[in-house]
Symmetry: C2
């Protein structure tokens, strides 16, 4: 279909044909769900040895009785694993409770209300605060900003990460910009991995931004590659040490998509100064994280090699689903004007950009044909996709057959919505 | 020793004798610690069956797969247990992560920054905020207020709870008072249980206070009685329903001193309206609590009867330590002018009031004789005990023999410090 060259008659004919296809699909009374970026039961079962793995031995390697209070920054051995995942040293990491989202929230809240020491006064002391949000992005990052009254400013994502020319220019022009959200490897939702150049430029933002600017580096999919061809992410901390900007970055990761979602261990990495300030603030609201659960995780995944082996088992489950989505998109939309997408080799999402003004309609059509998609706009601050184009596909939970069925529906919905939009144009 | 009747010569003679006793004790080179209110290893071992208790079955009673995301308010069966502990109904409770302190912090923060709905605007919109703090009290409550810039106002504790005449008068006189900290059963540190009358009057504070006033009811020792003679606490929620003040109270509890400290499950109970508002706020910083750990707890302690049986095992370990402290205090200070104390039948602390101006000196003397006590002043806001009298004794971790040794040292330190103070008077 070459929509831009088609006349009204041709468009109407396509509409009629596609509507027939669509109605046929509706007859199937499907009930499929591509909305949630969460592990499937099969993936979760990979970690079922967690419960009982201590075999009565609750002592950490340094003799700490994990059953009692204390240890705000986590077990030594858990720090080592987190440091390896985030490519930092063991004195640049804190191991928390079950949620990296919580650590991110606490970080933003701490920066806003209390500051991170003399060089980083509380944002609230400086009036209006803004955050750069590469779009499309992760809705829960945006919700944190909304709740804490931080104004969000869109920045374009590119296949190598955020548009860094735009990022640098904005920060230079506006000192009220105090942060940027990044998902640097297998970005949510586009799946891109930040290039080495992007990482280098992110590391240098601390040189042009104010002392209380913070890069929020949510490395949620740090180890979630689907095969060995997946691009590596270079070490942000190493680059920050080179440019003397270690205080400008807070990094996050968790085991939620490694072991059991919501029942795992979360990490925050940053400079020693930032972590010291953070611990002082954090120590008011908690005596410490669940160290027993940290120990369980260390018995299951004692080192980065064990972790890598474990992640290969996840990949074996997830990859066929990704392949299915990408195969369908390729078959339906290669060399078409109807949409664009990246080809992620990891993470949890594939993101599809329709022609402008079609995303909401596609999601609606799919829903009415029994295929639930993430609401259009959810990947943008305030739920507003200015071009109404982006749709996030999350294929991990359904079976491959279900993904296949859902993608057939998706293709017809995209085509039909595109024709409809062109008819109105 | 009748210090007030003694002349200087008599006092000096006592000082000489007590100094000799003290030096003899110093020769023992003791290394004892009565500072931390935490369970002993023997107590922790009562719950070692937790790890492995799921036996591969991660499904909650309603079929929820606890290994995946979701369930902000916790498992149904965990709600039932928490509701029984806090004497509320199951739609008046939320089950959280590993820390009731965190839930308390989040509650105060939410009330301050966001409010709890139309009837309860954010405290920050009304300027200066104050909290009533019954003293002596729990230092971590005070730290939350200090971090969040809430001014603390002392209220006297009595053997039946806070001085309610004082509390009511203060609230009537000052609308900037937005809360009160309460540890209603086996209060930290005095060990008293709030009387039925006190509970009734607390429930009526919502009638005289502003709509965003909140009682912070930290029922940390709700089920921690040492024998069947322990006074019961009447249900605050029942009283609030009677007076139509359910929104004025937030209640807290956790399993930290039931199973493994810092690796358990925390509860918050309040009105349905408060919980709905709280969940909306909480849902921004977390996807949900660790439901796997909630399920483990429910398998170990499936109902309130199982919980009560479990607590009797704790009591068998803790009671000899409490008895030892109380026996020594009785032997050394009964009918003396040197100090007063309550006789708790539960909780984690015994609190001793010296003559005015002696507590710091007692703690110093004890430390120099190898017995670590909680710093004097720690039980008061800003670390300042106006009369310098209160000392918190926490006997759960040392053995009974160690408690016995420590109390011998304590007695000599109290007597010596008292004589020293009288000599200076």
């Amino acid at each position: 279909m070459q929509l831009d060259q088609a006349n009204q008659d041709q468009l109407r004919q396509w509409q009629t044909e596609l509507s027939a296809d669509y109605q046929a699909l509706q007859q199937q009374a499907l009930n499929l769900d591509l909305t949630r970026g969460k592990p499937s039961a099969e993936q979760l079962s990979l970690s079922d040895a967690l419960d009982g793995i201590l075999a009565g031995n609750y002592l950490a390697s340094d003799g700490t009785d994990t059953r009692n209070y204390g240890g705000l920054d986590g077990l030594t051995e858990a720090k080592q694993l987190g440091a390896d995942v985030l490519q930092v040293s063991t004195d640049e990491i804190l191991v928390g409770g079950n949620s990296s989202l919580t650590l991110m929230y606490q970080t933003v809240l701490a920066a806003q209300q209390f500051g991170f020491g003399e060089q980083a006064p509380a944002w609230k002391s400086e009036g209006k605060v803004k955050f750069l949000c590469p779009v499309p992005g992760y809705d829960r990052h945006f919700s944190i900003c909304e709740q804490l009254d931080i104004e969000m400013v869109n920045v374009n994502m590119t296949p190598t990460g955020p548009d860094m020319d735009q990022v640098e220019a904005m920060i230079k022009a506006d000192s009220s910009i105090k942060g940027i959200w990044c998902v640097p490897r297998f970005s949510n939702p586009t799946g891109v991995v930040y290039s080495d150049e992007t990482v280098e430029r992110i590391a240098q933002l601390g040189k042009i931004a104010s002392g209380n600017f913070r890069v929020m580096w949510d490395n949620a999919y740090a180890v979630h590659s689907l095969d060995s061809s997946a691009p590596q992410l270079s070490s942000l901390m190493a680059a920050c040490h080179k440019y003397d900007t270690v205080d400008s970055v807070m990094q996050f990761a968790s085991t939620s998509k490694i072991t059991h979602a919501g029942a795992g261990v979360a990490f925050v990495a940053s400079s020693k100064a930032n972590l010291a300030a953070f611990k002082k603030i954090l120590g008011i609201s908690t005596i410490g994280p669940d160290k027993v659960n940290q120990l369980r995780h260390m018995r299951l995944l004692p080192n980065i090699d064990a972790l890598s082996g474990h992640m290969q088992k996840h990949a074996a489950i997830v990859k066929p689903r990704f392949d299915c989505v990408l195969r369908n998109l390729e078959a339906d939309f290669a060399n078409s004007e109807l949409g664009t997408w990246e080809k992620p080799v990891g993470g949890y999402f594939i993101s599809f950009d329709t022609r402008p003004g079609c995303a909401q309609r596609v999601v609606q059509l799919a829903a009415e044909a029994g295929v639930k998609l993430t609401p259009a706009g959810a990947t943008f601050p305030y739920g507003k996709d200015p071009a109404d184009r982006n749709i996030r596909l999350a294929p991990t939970v359904p079976s491959v057959n279900e993904v296949e069925q859902a993608m057939k529906v998706f293709a017809v919905c995209v085509k039909l919505a595109s024709v409809e939009a062109q008819l109105k144009a």
